[in-house]
């Protein structure tokens, strides 16, 4: 075996790749082809036929326009909320936390250690109408006497924001931490106010982190259905809920497959528009 590697050094990388690439090919790429195949079928469970049924796609878009719109709206709002909430925290960790940095980073990823569904359910306790948060907001008349927070768009967006917060915070931290402190000193020496130094040095240099964090938050958020299911009502249904129900409850596989493709396509388009807008060099550099 050893002498085999000696005789064929060029084959070594391919042998190393073979098992993993085989797995990803068989269980990631080929399934995408099956998804495409299924999305063009027609019929009723359990007999589907491949009929180039392109109307699945047009129907998917026109029937579920509302859910698509809501998915992108909620995901967008949650992404902005994550960015606004995470930036000052991560800035503080990168520049002010000193020896406590690793501990605070651990605080950021700690929510990941609680099962996704269970930490989402915890928001049921926190936002519950009998809980202290609603009680306080009613007390100061931000909410009406019978006003509630749960089962609303607010609850769903809050849930998504909380659940994907680390995806925004970690890349932001990486980009802020890499900033050469001499650049900030140089800005100061050139009479930049702290505000100017932030706007013209720190913020642009954290650009790649903002872009990476936005993508990492937005993509999974747009496909999420757990928060809408647990913290919302049917009025807050997102496209993930529809896909999941079509696959597992109404057994309408072709529509579910078409919806999955449309979701993926829309995310890709959103990505391209976003990357165009911010400039692709921010993504790589």
């Amino acid at each position: 075996m050893g002498s085999f590697f000696h005789r064929h050094p060029r084959l070594t990388p391919y042998l190393l790749l073979a098992p993993g690439v085989f797995w990803l090919g068989l269980f990631f790429l080929i399934p995408l082809a099956f998804l495409a195949y299924q999305s063009l079928q027609s019929g009723i469970y359990p007999t589907f036929e491949f009929t180039w049924e392109f109307s699945n796609f047009t129907d998917a878009i026109s029937d579920y326009r509302e859910q698509f719109f809501r998915s992108f709206l909620y995901a967008g709002l949650a992404t902005v909320a994550c960015l606004v909430l995470a930036y000052p925290l991560v800035y503080w960790i990168a520049f002010r936390a000193g020896p406590w940095r690793n501990l605070f980073l651990l605080f950021i990823i700690a929510p990941f250690f609680v099962t996704y569904l269970v930490r989402t359910l915890a928001w049921l306790n926190i936002l519950s109408s009998e809980g202290p948060v609603v009680g306080f907001l009613r007390g100061i008349h931000v909410l009406d006497e019978d006003g509630q927070l749960l089962y609303s768009a607010f609850a769903v967006v809050s849930g998504i924001t909380y659940n994907f917060f680390p995806f925004m915070a970690l890349p932001l931290y990486v980009s802020l931490e890499q900033i050469d402190s001499r650049l900030l000193e140089a800005a100061k020496d050139l009479y930049a106010s702290p505000r100017e130094a932030f706007m013209r040095v720190t913020l642009p240099l954290s650009g790649p982190g903002i872009v990476a964090g936005t993508l990492l938050t937005f993509i999974p958020a747009a496909g999420d259905f757990i928060n809408a299911e647990l913290l919302g009502t049917p009025k807050q249904t997102m496209i993930g809920n529809v896909i999941q129900a079509k696959f597992l409850e109404s057994l309408d596989y072709p529509t579910a497959a078409a919806l999955s493709f449309v979701l993926m396509g829309m995310i890709l388009v959103a990505l391209l528009v976003y990357v165009r807008a911010v400039g692709s060099e921010k993504l790589t550099g």
Partner: protein, 288 residues
């Protein structure tokens, strides 16, 4: 000297007001950071707290009183024990397989130049950039159309988990391989070791910590996954699938017990890692 100091406009010393403002600003940020950490910790505290709650009705939403009952009888809910065991079994098995496959891919990408390298990078990146629901849905259509080979259950969950974990393993191991000193391997080869012996005696021990970190990440991802698992589980329940089913009726406090236990184990491992890094950083500082 004196001419120079006169020609350069001296920087005005910040006044009292400016300094007070700076003080407020500085501490406002610190206060915000602590608040934000509180926000992040709040649901975790709630999960742990409500594992000790003694709910009066079916719903575990409002604090009623302290009890240890649910920690002692954590598996008294029908199906919970089986679900937890399935989660651990799938997690261990998928992690071992994915860590092996992912490490091989990372080694190939970092150490070798070959035709198809950027295609491989793309293949590894794509599953991470695809929404989970699409990953799960496409895999489900494969299984639904090949029922002669695949029946939904334990093994389809295992296949799905290996598939979505591999990319994360590759990224983690790759990051550590890049800073790897290849002279050690060259030295072993010069001393007559064949490539396999070199790999076993030199490479493997050196990348073992990266593999361990990657494996821990993989296990955490596996045990937490709901979306892909739910779509491909058939009737088999993992812990998250069990929670989903329970959430449609009422969630027993035992779910909080299991989630708290998972959290405590994970946080203990993470703290051990932080401590270990701190110590090894100190040791290398001492050496130089």
């Amino acid at each position: 000297m004196s001419i120079a100091t006169e020609t350069i406009v001296p920087r005005s010393r910040p006044g009292v007001a400016a300094r007070a403002w700076a003080f407020v600003k500085r501490h406002a940020l610190t206060a915000y950071a602590l608040l934000a950490v509180g926000y992040l910790m709040l649901p975790i505290a709630v999960v742990i707290l409500f594992s000790f709650n003694a709910p009066k009705g079916r719903f575990n939403y409002v604090w009623q009183g302290f009890t240890l009952d649910y920690w002692v009888n954590w598996d008294s809910v029908l199906g919970l024990r089986e679900a937890v065991i399935t989660s651990i079994e799938v997690g261990l098995l998928a992690t071992v397989v994915a860590t092996a496959l992912g490490t091989f891919i990372a080694l190939a990408i970092v150490r070798h130049h070959f035709v198809g390298r950027s295609a491989t990078n793309l293949l590894v990146f794509l599953p991470m950039a695809t929404p989970e629901i699409v990953l799960g849905a496409s895999l489900l259509t494969l299984f639904l159309n090949t029922t002669a080979v695949f029946q939904l259950g334990f093994w389809t969950i295992f296949i799905a988990h290996v598939m979505f974990i591999v990319s994360f393993i590759v990224v983690t191991v790759k990051a550590r391989l890049i800073g790897f000193d290849r002279h050690l391997e060259e030295a072993a080869m010069d001393l007559g070791a064949d490539p396999l012996t070199t790999f076993r005696k030199i490479t493997l021990p050196l990348i073992a910590p990266a593999m361990l970190a990657a494996a821990l990440l993989g296990f955490a991802l596996s045990i937490d996954d709901f979306v892909i698992t739910y779509l491909n589980a058939g009737g088999t329940q993992t812990f998250p699938v069990f929670v989903w089913g329970a959430a449609r009726v009422s969630v027993p406090p035992q779910v909080n017990v299991v989630a708290s236990a998972i959290f405590l184990v994970a946080i203990a491992l993470a703290l051990a890692n932080v401590f270990w890094q701190y110590r090894s950083a100190k040791r290398t500082q001492g050496a130089t």
